[in-house]
């Protein structure tokens, strides 16, 4: 609505300069492009998802803990089933830690989801 009103207001005064008009058109084009971009761009909403620092910190810590927990659980299961104690736990705890770090880096956007690799 405000855009319409402004457009009419602009039309009333004579366009003193062709360059001004084209600059304005370009600006409008940029604004329109930026307004319609979120529907195609994948990276937009992830930043808005973690708006508050607390939510961000919480998200990152839960990612790390989840990785370690899954590693520990799988290692413990392997120890139980195969009787490899303590090697399953040792190996999978380390792998789980690495997976947790990978989760954190993905969540923080340091490593993009997967397509950075190719």
């Amino acid at each position: 609505m405000s855009g319409d009103a402004r457009g009419q207001g602009d039309r009333k005064e004579p366009p003193d300069d062709e360059a001004v008009l084209s600059a304005r058109l370009q600006r409008l084009g940029e604004r329109l492009a930026s307004a319609s971009r979120p529907s195609e761009n994948g990276s937009g909403p992830r930043q808005t998802a973690d708006r508050s620092a607390f939510a961000r910190g919480f998200r990152l810590s839960s990612e790390l803990v989840a990785g370690v927990a899954v590693g520990a659980f799988i290692g413990w299961l392997i120890d139980r089933w195969l009787g490899l104690s303590p090697w399953g736990l040792v190996v999978f705890l380390l792998l789980g830690f690495a997976a947790g770090i990978l989760n954190v880096m993905r969540a923080a956007g340091i490593v993009r989801e997967r397509d950075l690799n190719d």
């Binding site: 994948g42 939510a55 998200r59 839960s62 989840a66 990785g67 799988i74 792998l95 397509d115 190719d118």
Partner: protein
Amino acid sequence: MALDPIEQFQIHNLFPIAKIGNTEIAFTNSAAFMLAAVIGLTLFLLAATAGKNLVPTRLQSAAEIAYEFVATTVRSTAGAEGMTFFPFVFTIFMFVLALNMFGLIPFAFTVTSHIIITAALALTVFFTVLIYGLMRHGLRFFKLFVPKGVPVYLLPLIVAIEVLSFLSRPISHSVRLFANMLAGHIALQVFAGFIILLGGALGAIGWIGGAVPFAIIVALLALETLVAFLQAYVFAILTCIYLNDAIHPGH
């Protein structure tokens, strides 16, 4: 009793429904709130879409905003093909949002503060991704675990880490929502307990001093409203991100 901040999370059996073996299946307060959320959402959406006005009424535009919001989220994270899952994501988002918001009503029960609920939702998403990915891409789905451009001798290690990272998803997915709701409601209850403690210990002066924790509760409640919405949104967007892997695994 009012001073116990955990007491609000207790499950009460309202009435028994069925009996399987020796386990009694009862209708609990948690189930009651879930039912209330589902009925409330259904009535809201039915009422909002009943008119189908070109110029929406307030109710209809609320439903349209919700639709647009989720549709934009799905399209931007999972692409146009992700819209296959729009009903799924919309249901999850509205359900979690309604449960979170209902939980903010004083004396109400917060269903999403129980990890069994959030874990069930997260596991539903997890298995949807797994089954849909395997159905659609067959064994190529497992390319998800093999990043491109990794030297062959590092591959076993990388694949193991990727698989663990994939398996850890439902945990972080569910824990985030559950812990946020739990922590928020405990904080509210603790500050509410301060008022009663002050009043009980110091009498009239205490009740006046209780204005301070009361002000904090008001501020916390505003924050919790934001968190309730934000966590429903985060839950939905993570669902979209995971579904994106099922739709486009080889990226």
